[in-house]
């Protein structure tokens, strides 16, 4: 693991903080997320430290619970993307031949359909349950991870220690898990972190369009959507979840930087990198 620099610290501390907030949401939030405690968009008070939202619910509590929702949905989706993408990518990269052609070409087709549009088509027709949303996000991002994993597997697969393993008559599973995976892991973890950011942004965009997590479940994109009318009157309720998304994305970027130990890493593409 590369050396930890001072400049990485705020990001890592921030991420831990976010995770703690999500984990301990029930204890941290002063009110239940759906409880109406005042009028719409009340100014901050002792009762509601960040003010209230469009329905008069405590914004801080909703933000805390939203952290839990956004983080967990994103994490599970990213995990699905990671597992599916890595497995298929490795198999394609190592096996080569028609298996590689099949996996890669199907993946190419999926990638050539703009992500957002694919997501819209699917989410407009399927029930927007958490499971479906997670699956859609996971599968869409898996295509990106698959490409990286395939390239990595092909690169590592060309190394001579893989030749040695093949000369030993090792099976595919051993080669994938013991020879390739450990060597691909740092880059894959950094890729995972990046995908995490994209999924987070993507999820919030979907929620903002009303296609993501459905109310009253609090999530960041949904919070922004619920409160967006207030922005015009200088009510910051909608901008706070937006800022939370931005800060978390920055934290994870830093983490990925640290893991890759380089400052030339490619980051920041929206949904098409």
């Amino acid at each position: 693991m590369p050396a930890l620099k001072i400049s990485h610290l705020p990001g890592i501390v921030g991420l831990i903080l976010f995770m703690a907030i999500g984990l301990f949401a029930p204890w941290l939030s002063p009110h239940a997320p759906d409880q109406v405690i005042g009028m719409a968009w009340d100014v901050p008070s002792a009762l509601a430290p960040l003010g209230t939202d469009n329905l008069g619910r405590d914004l801080l509590s909703r933000l805390i619970w939203g952290t839990r929702t956004s983080l967990s949905v994103t994490a599970v989706a990213a995990l699905i993307a990671f597992l599916a993408g890595t497995t298929l990518g490795f198999i394609a990269g190592v096996c080569g031949g028609w298996i590689d052609q099949l996996i890669s070409r199907v993946n190419d087709v999926l990638m050539a359909i703009p992500t957002l549009i694919l997501a819209l088509v699917i989410l407009a027709t399927l029930p927007k349950t958490l499971g479906v949303i997670i699956l859609v996000l996971g599968v869409l991002e898996a295509t990106r991870i698959l490409r990286v994993a395939r390239a990595l597997a092909a690169d590592i697969g060309a190394m001579e220690f893989i030749e040695v393993a093949r000369l030993r008559g090792e099976g595919l599973v051993w080669i994938l898990l013991r020879e390739i995976l450990p060597n691909a892991l740092p880059i894959l973890i950094a890729e995972f972190a990046m995908r995490f950011v994209f999924i987070l942004l993507f999820l919030s965009a979907l929620s903002f369009l009303g296609l993501g997590i459905q109310p009253p479940t609090a999530d960041w994109g949904g919070l922004a959507r619920d409160n967006k009318d207030g922005i015009l009157f200088g009510i910051w309720a909608a901008l706070i979840p937006g800022a939370a998304i931005a800060i978390l994305a920055l934290c994870i970027n830093t983490l990925a930087d640290w893991l890759l130990g380089a400052n030339t890493r490619a980051w920041g593409a929206r949904h098409h990198a």
């Binding site: 190394m159 001579e160 220690f161 030749e163 040695v164 093949r166 000369l167 030993r168 008559g169 090792e170 013991r178 020879e179 450990p182 060597n183 892991l185």
Partner: protein
């Protein structure tokens, strides 16, 4: 300390007490108190193993440090100017104009996006030394001088369109184009095969004498340096070991390390003699193979006897490594057959039984690539034992220790990862891993070419010892004839995918020789100062100038 040549005139270059460190915690000293001086027209050879600080010194002379390096003391006086205390702008007026640099890998040192001509004349043009027309004329003249084919065309070519040897010569032309006073040659022939190397050495020797430029020649190969240098400085771990005239270093080395270096190059050892008529282990008949759709091997017929070593030699691209892969089963043959102890040896890995896999093992050229960086050394050796033996856990553990001990490694290495090991240690681990299978044949694909001479010598000695102890046979792929003489009983000469010569080493490489083999044999630098001069029969024109085959390293 200043080792002046004794002349009264101030030297062209004087390096005084140079200290360079690698930043980081803890700081690592790369160059420690190096001093020397160089007069106009003189050639100094810097010799040493990897990590000796040769290249760091070479670049410091141009006032350049790689990222993460810093000069902490000393002076570098060039024509009276201290380069270490000069501004970037001042340095720019010297770099490329008065001091030129020839890098080790011309393939990487040329910008792939620009034509060779542009790059060769760039320094002369930027420094305003001549107009475009004159610069071009100069470059063409140098191309002609270096026997580069069709200079006018060559001028317009891109780096990827020419061979490695041609690029290296173009690199020297680039250094010479602006007419510098000093050229730093940083291992300019290290990555080349011997025949190409010979051509380059002749070119360098010619221009140094003719143009009267001073030069610093950096190499790990004493025989090469001996051909060019007036003085030689031997370096080790960033410190000076010994400094003297070439003759003095070659004939009267003062330091044990220098003597070791000399010893490593003078092929002294001979392979253990075994009965010449043992049973054949591996027989190859009329074997053809292709690599990436290109036919590479044509009708190969070979015999390897039990307990003997067969060396495969040939130029880069002659198909040596491909043959090794076919024998191992990594590459399927198109035609022909192989038998192992009289039994048919299937061509692909899939068809081979565990027994086949166990009996043939392989040692790769670059041990870094052959070891999984993320697995413990012990586990990597253990895996081979688990696959090929029926030993239980405890037995295997003991066996791993025994194998490591056998290849001269400490048992504690088993608990380390490859990156904590030196190159030589890694190669020994690879050997131990191959031995774990108790094989009958080990295919060695240039196992010593990436190692420093002294380390290579020890690894060869180990291989010899193991053969003696276990009776294993080696198919030994190499381009280094020193190595052939040290380890092989038999030799096969490969030329463009065909075996043109085969037999016992003494007979096969003894007179009378065909041209190809003769060139291979004679192009090996010898540890005497007049070797290069004697090679005049080998004018550059006889050196292949054809474009590299697709298999060529460049």
């Amino acid at each position: 300390m200043l080792d002046s040549s004794g002349t009264v005139a101030p030297p062209l270059l004087a390096v005084e007490q140079l200290h360079i460190v690698a930043s980081g915690k803890p700081q690592r000293t790369l160059v420690e108190g190096i001093s020397f001086s160089l007069n106009a027209g003189e050639v100094l050879g810097l010799i040493g193993e990897s990590g000796a600080g040769k290249s760091t010194i070479g670049q410091a002379i141009l006032g350049h440090q790689r990222e993460g390096m810093a000069v902490t003391g000393g002076r570098i006086l060039f024509a009276g100017q201290d380069l270490l205390r000069s501004s970037e702008a001042q340095l720019r007026r010297i770099r490329g104009k008065r001091i030129a640099y020839v890098a080790q890998s011309a393939g990487a040192a040329f910008n792939p996006a620009l034509t060779l001509g542009e790059q060769v004349v760039e320094a002369a043009r930027v420094h305003g030394l001549m107009d475009a027309q004159a610069a071009r004329e100069k470059a063409l003249e140098l191309f002609r001088r270096f026997s580069l084919p069709d200079p006018e065309q060559f001028f317009l070519r891109y780096p990827h369109q020419v061979s490695g040897g041609q690029l290296q010569r173009a690199m020297i032309a680039m250094a010479l184009c602006s007419g510098p006073d000093l050229i730093v040659f940083d291992e300019p022939t290290t990555a080349l095969d011997v025949i190409t190397q010979l051509g380059i050495l002749q070119a360098i020797a010619g221009v140094i004498r003719e143009a009267g430029v001073a030069a610093i020649y950096i190499s790990h190969d004493l025989a090469v340096v001996a051909q060019l240098a007036d003085h030689i400085m031997v370096l080790r771990h960033g410190r000076r070991v010994e400094h003297g005239t070439t003759g003095q270093i070659l004939h009267a080395p003062a330091h044990a390390y220098t003597r070791d270096l000399l010893g490593a190059e003078r092929a002294g050892n001979r392979p253990q003699t075994v009965q010449s008529e043992t049973a054949p282990l591996l027989t190859i008949q009329s074997l053809s193979a292709r690599y990436h759709h290109q036919p590479v091997l044509h009708g190969i017929c070979l015999n390897l006897a039990k307990g003997r070593t067969l060396a495969l030699i040939g130029e880069s691209g002659s198909g040596k490594s491909t043959l090794g892969k076919v024998v191992c089963g990594l590459l399927a043959a198109d035609a022909g057959s192989m038998t192992l102890e009289g039994m048919t040896l299937p061509s692909t890995l899939r068809q081979r039984t565990r027994d086949h896999l166990q009996r043939i093992q392989m040692i790769h050229q670059i041990p870094d690539n052959a070891l999984n960086p993320k697995l413990l050394i012990g586990d990597q050796v253990d895996r081979a034992l688990r696959t090929f033996t029926t030993l239980n856990r405890d037995q295997r553990q003991r066996r791993v220790m025994a194998l490591l001990d056998r290849v001269g490694l400490d048992g504690t290495i088993a608990q380390r990862y490859p990156h904590a090991l030196s190159g030589g240690q890694k190669q020994r681990v690879c050997i131990a891993r191959a031995l774990a299978a108790e094989p009958e044949l080990i295919v060695c694909d240039e196992p010593t070419s990436a190692l420093d001479p002294l380390v290579a010598r020890d690894v060869l000695a180990l291989l010899r010892q193991l053969q003696q102890d276990t009776g294993v046979s080696y198919l030994f792929i190499t381009h280094d004839l020193h190595v052939v003489k040290e380890i092989a009983h038999d030799v096969a000469v490969l030329c463009e995918g065909r075996i043109i010569r085969q037999g016992r080493v003494d007979e096969a490489l003894g007179a009378p020789l065909d041209d190809y083999t003769r060139r291979l044999v004679e192009a090996v630098p010898q540890l005497r100062q007049d070797w290069l001069a004697e090679m005049t029969g080998y004018t550059s024109s006889s050196v292949s100038t054809a474009a590299p085959s697709p298999l060529h390293a460049y």
